[in-house]
Point group: C3
Chain length 159, copies 3
């Protein structure tokens, strides 16, 4: 599957890859090691500005959290595209979804599902993943969600 | 060590592997990649229903948390058995223990120890692991504990 | 780069590797698998005693948190030295920085930056890393920060 096909699938969903910029902080956006792509944590930002803030408190906040999760997933996809190209995703080894949560909010899976569903919808079988969903006290810049993804790549020679 | 020996060790401890079911959510229970087994996060559930709820608040809650950690560890073992068979565990590369915690509760290691001890007791040296223990705001369904495990497998030809 | 050079760089910064001791708990301090070093979580402790407590609440706590992050980074470096020797660091695959945070504190990156900067200052390019910063409810022993590091090693034959 080429990167163009994936971007077209997003477009049909009314979505697009957000522009990437180098981290403002002293770390790498991505690293490839032994055929595995490690991506730095992605929050619900556009151009560095948080679009969906946490914490989530009640069931009525789930939809807000799902929008945050979709934006985080778009940031993951854009991070892959910038680092190696979306056509190189073989499989998602692990996705950790951190959800800024009040102590009574325990619907983290419903929130992170929005990210999981998008990855599978646009990447197909390559987007399937193991997952851990966690409710945390707070996230950088007040983001409602943060995603950490680790991805097995297709060897360049096999594309 | 065969899977039967491990199940028998559990039985002598009065424990058994909980039944596994496919995740209700859009992710994989497990994935094998390059000889490593990635398991999705495991909460303190039976048949999808949380048995030990958080958050933990005081030292008196440690024992409750340890029961949760044991059930999570049983879910990890059952997840391994369902994915590849317990006889294939070479070593546990990393265990992350998330403990739903009030801000004053800082005994996460005492809680996660119950999981660590069980893994070592039933898997022997193969159950030894590096570990990170974290206190979080809330966990899926209100679980008191969640475990994420990454496991090196014995190659199938070497069993 | 030899281990001595790295220790000397720390000395010029007025820092030194803290003494390591075996975990009091039933887990491994470190494990090497397939050329990757997995380190257990490191809190802001000396001889097992927390030096910088959380949670962080306001912007005025950032400096306190940065001191905690530096001590955690020193514990990571000391853990590498004890396990395999600092000269064997090829690259840091992933650094997860957990910051004990009140719900309103969202400057986790500013805190974890102190650890990122130290790793790069003393290890050079080998210290560069992908990163995830998270605000959590509480950490073991009340530590303000905990770091989890995963490191690619230089093969012993190539040193």
């Amino acid at each position: 599957m080429t990167s163009d096909v994936i971007v077209e699938r997003l477009r049909r969903l009314g979505l697009e890859l957000p522009p990437q910029r180098a981290p403002r902080h002293p770390y790498l956006a991505a690293r490839v090691d032994a055929g595995v792509l490690y991506l730095s944590g992605k929050t619900a930002t556009l151009d560095g500005s948080v679009q969906f803030a946490g914490p989530l408190r009640t069931a009525e906040d789930i939809e807000h959290g799902r929008k945050a999760a979709v934006l985080c997933a778009l940031q993951v996809l854009a991070g892959i595209e910038a680092a190696v190209g979306l056509q190189r995703v073989h499989s998602v080894l692990r996705l950790t979804g951190y959800v800024a949560s009040a102590p009574d909010f325990v619907s983290q899976p419903d929130v992170v599902n929005a990210a999981s569903e998008l990855l599978i919808e646009v990447l197909g079988g390559a987007g399937q993943h193991t997952r851990t969903a966690i409710g945390v006290a707070a996230l950088p810049g007040g983001s409602a969600v943060e995603l950490e993804a680790t991805i097995r790549l297709i060897p360049e020679a096999d594309q």
